[in-house]
């Protein structure tokens, strides 16, 4: 199978940056993500439900935050089909206000070249100055 769009393995350097992205997340996106992901937990769209769960505001789906971090990885690799492993720990909620949006900052670095075209990358994911994902790591298979 040819990989004409994927980043070249030999050219990758341990420690190199995957770049940085800032994603804006608003309530409309949470609704869209609920529908697409089949996760209809009301803490992601209902102020009352969020309050009753002890949350200060409606929060983003953890899996949406993980998917946003994943976009940095697939863009860097050049192909979403390059991803073979992706794991995260959810360490803080991402509160999404009823109007306006909240920002999720994603950056990453190459941690290790594993051989067989595989590269391990680590991600830093912050929102409102807090780390919302910890131990965020992915493995991609490059060209």
């Amino acid at each position: 199978m040819s990989d004409p769009i994927r980043r070249s393995y030999v050219q990758v350097l341990v420690g190199e940056s995957l770049g940085e992205r800032v994603f804006e997340v608003d309530r409309a996106q949470l609704v869209r993500y609920a529908g697409a992901s089949l996760d209809f937990n009301p803490i992601h769209w209902s102020d009352l439900a969020a309050q009753r769960s002890g949350l200060e505001d409606v929060v983003a789906h953890g899996m949406l935050t993980m998917a946003l971090a994943g976009r940095l990885v697939s863009d860097w690799a050049g192909d979403p089909g390059a991803v073979r492993e992706f794991s995260v720990r959810f360490s803080a909620v991402v509160k999404v206000p009823a109007s306006g949006s909240t920002q999720v900052h994603v950056s990453g670095t190459v941690q290790e070249k594993l051989g067989d075209g595989r590269v391990a990358v680590g991600l830093q994911v912050l929102s409102a100055d807090r780390e919302v994902l910890k131990a965020a790591r992915a493995v991609v298979v490059l060209s």
């Binding site: 004409p4 992901s37 899996m63």
Partner: protein
């Protein structure tokens, strides 16, 4: 009340296989804000070496959530939704999930363990083709707050 450790290793019914459609992939890509043409353009996906549109890397978790309701609803396990937060997620892919895949799920409770006052519930979902080829493993760790025996 603590989760029932007797359910460790228990397998659950997953319902029918999940038909991965091009439309669902496009919908999911839009929901995560990814406008990459590889999710839209079949010719581009094929030129990149894929048989059909690839799904975004976390898409397997959509299928595992849909299929993984068994543990959440099991009275033997005793999960209290009000106490549950998502702790960790791990996705392992042998290959991308593609439009056209029809994936069967196998869901089981991999582990239940204490973490201070909390319990961690680890649910494994394995997605395979009709021929039995494993495509994706999704491991979800849910935190059951304050239910550890001897906890609050």
């Amino acid at each position: 009340m603590a989760l029932a450790r007797s359910t460790i290793g228990k397998a659950y019914e997953c319902g029918p296989p999940f038909d991965v459609s091009r439309q669902k992939i496009r919908e999911f890509a839009a929901a995560i804000g990814d406008d990459s043409p590889i999710y839209q353009d079949l010719d581009l996906a094929r030129a990149a070496g894929h048989g059909d549109l690839p799904a975004p890397p976390t898409f397997g978790s959509v299928i595992s959530l849909e299929m993984g309701q068994g543990p959440r609803r099991d009275p033997e396990l005793g999960l209290d939704f009000a106490r549950v937060v998502h702790g960790e997620q791990r996705i392992d892919l042998r290959r991308p999930i593609y439009a056209g895949d029809v994936l069967t799920g196998a869901v089981s409770i991999a582990d239940i363990r204490d973490a201070g006052e909390n319990e961690l519930l680890e649910i494994l979902c394995v997605l395979s083709t009709p021929e039995g080829e494993e495509v994706c493993r999704i491991t979800s760790v849910l935190v059951s707050r304050g239910t550890a025996e001897g906890g609050r």
